[in-house]
C-alpha cells in the first residue's frame, strides 16, 4: 500500500509515498477517505445533476497545500456528504498550487470523526521522491 496509517495517542496519522507530486496528493486523498469512511470507498458519482467539481488551491508552501487539500475534502464530506473523485490533478511544488477536476460521489458511510488535517508533525518533501506525513485531529 503506498500509504499507511500511523499511530498517534489521540488521533491518526497518514504516511504517503509516491513517484510524483500529483500522485502524492491523490494517494493522500485515498488514505484520508479510508480513515473518514472506515475503508468503504465504493461509490458512484451523484446522478441527476451536474456532479462535476473543481478544486483550486493556492498555498503559502507545500505544508499548507497538503493540509488545505485534505481539509477541502473534509469540507465536501461534511457539508455535501460527498467524495471527490479526481479525473485530473496537477500540483506545482514550486508555486504550492493545486488544480483538481473531477466528480462528486455520495459518501456511503457517514463516519466522519475527523475534525481537521493539522500541521502538527507534518513532513512533506520531494527527495528522493515525494513523501507526506500528516496527522488528523479526530
Amino acid at each position: 500500500m503506498p500509504w499507511k496509517i500511523i499511530a498517534h495517542t489521540a488521533d491518526a496519522g497518514l504516511e504517503v509515498y509516491a513517484e510524483t507530486w500529483a500522485e502524492l496528493f491523490k494517494l493522500a486523498a485515498e488514505g484520508f477517505y479510508h480513515i473518514c469512511l472506515d475503508g468503504d470507498l465504493s461509490s458512484s458519482p451523484f446522478e441527476g445533476f451536474d456532479n462535476s467539481h473543481t478544486i483550486s488551491i493556492e498555498a503559502i508552501d507545500l505544508e499548507e497545500l497538503a493540509v488545505s487539500w485534505l481539509n477541502e475534502l473534509l469540507f465536501l464530506l461534511e457539508t455535501r456528504r460527498a467524495i471527490f473523485i479526481p479525473s485530473s490533478l496537477s500540483v506545482s511544488d514550486t508555486r504550492a498550487t493545486l488544480l483538481a477536476e473531477g466528480v462528486l460521489a455520495p459518501a456511503n458511510q457517514a463516519r466522519i470523526s475527523v475534525k481537521a488535517a493539522t500541521y502538527g508533525g507534518i513532513v512533506i518533501n520531494g527527495s528522493p521522491s515525494p513523501f507526506l506525513r500528516v496527522f488528523l485531529d479526530m
Binding site: 489521540a10 469540507f75 464530506l77 457539508t79 493539522t118 500541521y119 508533525g121 479526530m138
Partner: protein, 464 residues
C-alpha cells in the same frame, strides 16, 4: 528532556528552562508517578517546552495530569500571556473550540432510571442527533446563525430552549461578550449551519449517571447533587464551525507572524500579538465559535430534558454547570504581587475559580467526577485544573485490542447500557485507551487546584 525534570513533590514536576532553546519560563507538570510514566509515551513533554517559548508567557507552561499529545499545545496545557505584550494562539485552544461539558442533576432515584433505561436510552438516541452526519440539527437561516454566534445560549433561551436558570449555571452566562460573527468565514458558517443541537462523534457523548459517592456534602448540596439520584452529562463542542475557525486562523497567523518577528518551534503554535488585528480577529471568531458550542450543549440538554419529562413527568433536570475546556479568556489574576490582565489559554483544561464546579468526564463506562475550583488554583495555575481522563493509547491500537460486541457485553455486565452510531467508535473509545480518571482527579485534589465533590457512575451511554 528527562534531565531537565525535577520532582518538586508528589504531584508536581518542574521542567527547567533550557530543556529546549528559547524557553522563556519553566514548565510545570502536575503528575504523580503513575502519570509521570505516561510522559515517555508521546511528545507531550516537548510540547510543554515549546509553549514556554511563546512571547509574553507568564509564570509557567502548565500541564495538568491528563496531559497527552495534542497539536501545538499538549492536551491538558495551560498558559497565560500578558494582555499587553503577549500572544494568542489557535493552537492553545484547539480545533474543537469550547468543547466542554454540561451536567444536569435530578432527584430521580437510580432504580427508577434503571427500570426505564431500555426505553429511555433509545428515546434519547432518537432525540439527540449524533454520529458523523453532516447535519440533523436545527436548520438555521444566515441571520439566525449570526445571532447564535453573537449570543450563544442566550439565543437558545429566547427561542424557547431551556431556561434563564440554565444560563445562570453556564460559564459566562452562556455568551462570551465581544464575539464577532463578522470574522467567522462563510466556510465555517456553512459547516455549522445544520449542526446546532448535534452531539457529533469520537469522544463526545451523552451519559446517564448516578451520584455514586459524595465527598463534600455542603458543596454537593449547593450544586444540587443527591447521592443515588440520576445525572445527565453532555460532552461536545462547536462541531465543524469551530474546527474551521481554527483552520482559518492558523493560516492567517502563519502569514502574520513574520510581520511581528515571531518564530515558533512548531507550526501548530502559530500566533499573533493579542493586540494585533489578527489577534483581535481570532479572539472575536473564537468567542463566536464558543457561543455556538454553548448553544449546542444547551439545546442538547433541552432535548434530554424533554425526553426525561416523558418518562418522569414530576421530575426536573436542573443544570449543575456548563464549562468549556478548550478556550482562551482574558482574565485578571494576581501574579508575583501584581494584578495583571492575562490571556489564559486552556487546551483540554478547565477553569477552576474558587467555588466553581469542575466537571471531569471519565472514559466510556468509567466513573466521572465533579470537583470544585479553589483559591489555590487561582493563585498557582491561573484558576485552572484538569479536564478528563486523557488518552494513553492510539485509536488504532484501541481498535485492534477491542471487540465492540465483547465491550458492549462487558459494560452490560457492569449495568451500563450503550448505544452508538458506530461500533468502531466504541472500540476506539474503549476504557483501556484512557488513563485512570481517578488518578488524574486525585492529583488535582492533593495539589489543591480542585477538590473532590462527588463521583458519578454511568448507567447508560450514548456515543456518536
Amino acid at each position: 528532556m528527562r534531565e531537565y525534570m525535577e520532582r518538586i513533590d508528589g504531584e508536581r514536576i518542574l521542567l527547567r528552562q533550557g530543556a529546549i532553546p528559547g524557553m522563556r519560563v519553566p514548565g510545570m507538570i502536575f503528575a504523580d508517578s503513575y502519570i509521570e510514566r505516561s510522559l515517555d509515551a508521546d511528545n507531550s513533554l516537548l510540547q510543554v517546552a515549546n509553549v514556554a517559548t511563546l512571547p509574553g508567557i507568564v509564570g509557567y507552561s502548565f500541564a495538568m495530569p491528563d496531559i497527552h499529545w495534542g497539536y501545538g499545545f499538549p492536551i491538558g496545557g495551560v498558559a497565560a500571556f500578558s494582555a499587553e505584550e503577549g500572544i494568542i494562539s489557535p493552537g492553545g485552544v484547539g480545533y474543537d473550540i469550547s468543547c466542554g461539558v454540561r451536567l444536569l442533576s435530578s432527584r430521580i432515584p437510580e432504580q427508577e432510571v434503571r427500570k426505564a433505561v431500555d426505553s429511555l436510552l433509545p428515546a434519547l438516541f432518537s432525540a439527540v442527533p449524533s454520529g458523523a452526519v453532516s447535519g440533523g440539527g436545527l436548520e438555521l437561516s444566515t441571520r439566525e446563525l449570526d445571532a447564535v454566534l453573537e449570543n450563544g445560549a442566550k439565543w437558545a433561551v429566547k427561542k424557547g430552549y431551556g431556561t434563564e436558570d440554565d444560563l445562570e449555571k453556564t460559564e459566562e452566562r452562556g455568551c462570551l461578550a465581544e464575539a464577532a460573527q463578522g470574522v467567522v468565514s462563510q466556510r465555517a458558517k456553512e459547516r455549522g449551519r445544520t449542526q446546532l443541537g448535534t452531539l457529533g462523534s469520537g469522544n463526545h457523548f451523552l451519559e446517564i449517571q448516578t451520584v455514586d459517592e459524595i465527598y463534600d456534602e455542603t458543596t454537593a448540596a449547593r450544586m444540587g447533587l443527591v447521592e443515588g439520584c440520576a445525572t445527565v452529562m453532555i460532552h461536545c463542542g462547536s462541531r465543524g464551525l469551530g474546527h474551521q475557525v481554527c483552520d482559518d486562523y492558523l493560516k492567517t497567523m502563519r502569514r502574520a507572524m513574520g510581520r511581528y518577528g515571531i518564530e515558533v518551534p512548531d507550526r501548530q503554535l502559530v500566533c499573533a500579538p493579542l493586540n494585533s488585528p489578527e489577534g483581535r480577529e481570532y479572539l472575536g471568531a473564537m468567542r463566536a465559535a464558543a457561543n455556538y458550542a454553548m448553544a449546542n450543549r444547551h439545546i442538547i440538554a433541552d432535548s434530554a430534558r424533554r425526553v426525561f419529562k416523558r418518562f418522569f413527568p414530576r421530575e426536573q433536570l436542573r443544570t449543575v454547570w456548563d464549562v468549556s475546556h478548550n478556550l482562551a479568556h482574558i482574565e485578571r489574576h494576581r501574579w508575583e504581587g501584581r494584578e495583571v490582565s492575562l490571556c489564559v489559554h486552556r487546551k483540554g483544561a478547565t477553569r477552576a475559580f474558587a467555588g466553581q464546579a469542575v466537571l471531569i468526564p471519565g472514559s466510556m463506562g468509567t466513573e466521572s467526577h465533579v470537583l470544585c475550583g479553589t483559591e489555590r488554583a487561582e493563585q498557582t495555575t491561573f484558576g485552572s485544573t484538569c479536564h478528563g481522563a486523557g488518552r494513553m493509547m492510539s485509536r488504532s491500537e484501541a481498535l485492534k485490542r477491542t471487540d465492540a460486541g465483547r465491550l458492549i457485553r462487558e459494560l452490560s455486565d457492569k449495568g451500563i447500557a450503550v448505544m452508538a452510531e458506530s461500533r468502531r467508535t466504541l472500540g476506539e473509545e474503549a476504557p483501556e485507551a484512557y488513563k485512570d480518571v481517578s488518578s488524574v482527579v486525585d492529583v488535582t485534589h492533593r495539589a489543591g487546584i480542585s477538590t473532590k465533590v462527588a463521583r458519578l457512575r454511568p448507567i447508560a451511554v450514548m456515543k456518536g
